[in-house]
């Protein structure tokens, strides 16, 4: 049972309850500002009890019972183990070693270990910290090089955080936004057009492009919400179809020089945007943070504020918990749907802006990449909470950087696609806390996981 009607009408006590619980239980690292349906983490009386206990006891309890943070860590661990099997099975050296297992068991095991540990350590070095740069820094090398992996992780994470927020905010209002990819294209088209077609002073140009991208995405999202509110068309179908429509539209725009195509080009490619529209970065070179990343974090904070501190956010969450209860309570459900899709589209459009104005500076047909689908997994891993989305986006950004690095380091022996498998596995395990509990023999308690994130066809 994902919810009961009883929790619908009064989500306020539930959310304030868990907010009060947060300072008491530091082990509940996942932001517990849960939606109304996740009332399990805010059982009455429990906050007072855990406040009395020592912090150490609280942590032990969280570990043994599996708080959401612990579940997430264990899920990542389990995903790495399963991914390790995939690396091993597809490594010819290792499979050959195993075929002689009964003659040389130690050799087979060491080959296995080498193969897996090499892949994962390369991934870590590429995405987070390369020990050789640290030792080089002690011997007179550049300190900046130490931070290079982290900088690229942040850059990769930026669009993922924003599309993740797009999906997450829709989830909180009970809508499943598969259309972040299409909204991304909408934002990218407007940002590109404003980026090269208009000349403005540097600071203003950046802001105009960002607003344009937000609007470009928001229009697509708004259309989805409008159709759902006015005709009842299911947002899953409409967003999927709009994705394809937007891809085709992009292809059309990029293949006509009168539209967005770069002149004298046969490829589907737009002109570079003007330097004045470029987002740039703070600090650097290497210890640098892209302005895009700061925008993403600011957007996460804004969404968090909207969801937990405003009437509109309260209405979103109530509609997400139970549309009929919300309707009974006098909330305009249709208006909430339209508004939340508009915001979701805008966030996806901003994601496009951070790519077009930040890292790529040019729109091509392949620019949209997998930001939309990745946004779904990021939102799920972040449990549809803004801060969670930022953390999940950083993790996935690190995985992407690490994947590219490991492919280069192993000369293609471990393709970067392994990262996609890892991402899928992580979300799969995070979303099935019952499985994690069974594997790691944790005591079962109620109320973690993603039970309340997505809804059925009429949620």
């Amino acid at each position: 049972m994902t919810e009961t009607p009883a929790t619908g009408p009064d989500p306020a006590p539930a959310s304030t309850g868990s907010a009060a619980a947060q300072p008491a239980g530091p082990a509940e690292a996942g932001p517990a500002g849960a939606g109304p349906a996740e009332a399990g983490s805010a059982e009455p009386g429990k906050p007072a009890g855990s406040r009395a206990r020592l912090t150490g006891a609280v942590i032990i309890q969280a570990v043994t019972q599996g708080s959401s943070a612990v579940i997430t860590i264990l899920a990542i661990f389990l995903a790495l183990v399963v991914g390790g099997f995939l690396i091993v099975f597809s490594d010819p050296v290792v499979t050959k070693a195993w075929s002689t297992f009964f003659s040389y068991p130690v050799y087979a095991l060491s080959q296995t270990w080498d193969s897996v540990s090499f892949a994962y350590s390369q991934m870590f070095e590429g995405a987070i910290l390369n020990p050789s740069t640290v030792s080089a820094a002690f011997h007179g090398g550049s300190i900046a090089a130490i931070f290079y992996p982290l900088s690229s992780t942040c850059a990769q994470a930026t669009p993922l955080i924003l599309t993740g927020l797009s999906v997450a905010i829709a989830f909180r209002a009970g809508l499943f936004n598969i259309g972040a990819a299409g909204q991304w294209v909408g934002g990218a088209v407007v940002a590109t057009w404003l980026g090269f077609g208009v000349s403005l002073p540097p600071g203003i140009h950046v802001i105009v492009c960002l607003i344009g991208a937000f609007v470009g995405g928001a229009v697509i999202g708004w259309f989805v919400g409008l159709l759902k509110a006015r005709t009842g068309a299911h947002e899953v179908i409409v967003t999927i179809m709009l994705n394809y429509v937007m891809y085709d539209l992009l292809s059309y725009l990029l293949s006509h020089p009168t539209m967005l195509q770069q002149p004298h080009q046969t490829n589907e490619i737009a002109p570079f945007i003007a330097n004045s529209a470029n987002l740039g970065h703070v600090g650097g070179p290497p210890p640098q943070v892209g302005i895009g990343f700061l925008i993403a974090v600011a957007a996460a904070l804004a969404v968090a504020w909207l969801l937990s501190r405003t009437t509109t956010g309260f209405q979103f969450r109530t509609v997400g918990a139970s549309p009929s209860a919300a309707r009974t309570a006098g909330i305009n459900v249709e208006r909430s749907w339209i508004l939340v899709m508009l915001l979701a589209g805008g966030l996806a459009g901003l994601s496009a802006a951070t790519v077009i104005q930040g890292t790529n500076t040019q729109l091509t047909f392949n620019s949209y990449g997998t930001y939309g689908p990745d946004g779904i997994t990021v939102a799920l891993l972040g449990r549809a909470k803004p801060i969670g989305v930022v953390l999940a986006g950083l993790l996935f950004g690190a995985l992407h950087v690490g994947g590219t690095y490991v492919e280069a380091a192993t000369l293609g022996q471990v393709p970067a696609d392994i990262v996609q498998v890892l991402e899928g596995l992580i979300v799969l395990f995070v979303a099935a806390p019952a499985l994690i509990r069974a594997v790691f023999r944790l005591r079962s308690t109620a109320g973690t996981g993603l039970e309340a994130v997505a809804k059925g066809w009429n949620g």
Binding site: V238, D248, D417, G424, A432, L450
Partner: protein, 421 residues
Amino acid sequence: MTTLAAAIRAPLTTERRHLAAVTFIVIGLINICIFGVLAHAGDAGFELSLAKASVKIPVIRVPAAPVCYALGAVALGLGVLRLTVPLRRLAKRLAIAGVLVCFLLSLLCWADAGAIPLNVIIISQGTFTESIPLILGALAGCLCERSGVINIAIEGQLLFGAFTAAIVASAFGGLWVGLVAGSLAGGLVGVLLAVFAISFLMDQIVLGVVLNVLVLGMTDYLYDRLMSQNPNYNTGITFGSIKIPGLSQIPIIGPIFFDSTVFLYITYVAIIVIQVALFRSRWGLRVRAVGEHPTAADTVGISVLWIRYRNVILGGLVAGIGGAYLTIGSVGSFIPDISSGFGYIALAALIFGRWTPLGALAAALLFGFCEEMALVLPTVNPVLPAPIMNMAPYVATIIAVAGLVGKVRPPKADGQPYVKA
């Protein structure tokens, strides 16, 4: 889940009730004002036999613009009828079908006006070619969702079926082995779906999306590791077409329905078996009971979990065949992400078809036809840019879902895990 039921039965507004009629009228006006007025002077031609057929049928030529006007008038008439007369359910559906046919025919007349004749046989064959994975995917979804498990993982089932069929058929040199392996691969994704959704009570929409990501990652990875390095694992062998003796000689019908690969015949069987089994057998009654009201089904002694497990895995096997079609049934070799969204369109077909096999068939054929049109029309009428034509199936879906179907009613317990009280 009373909230869900209440949300479904939210009061219909007047606006909503007249939506279908208004859509009919708009389509009629498009037929007249856009297709009719913009059609080039001249005839639209339709060929009804293949070049090498023994029986030749003369090309049908019709004046394009007047036909568009006539078809538009029919759509307008149906719209007015819908607005004024209360229609029975069957009549409503026939009216929708009629309007869609009018729309598609006038689209064809407009596109072909003054150009070389369109070959109806080739278009129909192409429609089936495009539709088979959609039909099988939608049937898989139907089996799952009628028993109360949402299946977004159709895409993953198709993709894994396609990959496994290609690699097994290439490695063993046997197409039938590949077909069985592809089906089993779809079933394997079905097993994962079942275990996580039914036993671990995982959110089914999340689960489906995640399984799709997982299968996409796995197949990309294995393609890079195995296939691209060793072409022997991806030889690209395909099933040949089988002519049904006698039936395939019938003019028009023969080449369309009875001259194709084994997959088309499997699809016929699957549609009939699933439609009959779901609505005309005790088995189907039980499945639907579990999907609508699991508690009641449990009370009378039906094992809810067993039925759900069985149906989800069966669905996976069916979708796996659809996946196998994508490689060994049509193009042969596997390429990464070969299913490219077919699973999601199959899902849309399932919902558009109101969770019935025949409805899903009709919707899948419509989508398949639109995709075939997107391939054919730019060659006939170069005025149309290909990307814009490619949009047609998706725009058609949005219009259909928003304007004609609107709020659909899924099986009542769809997506809810069942926990014995």
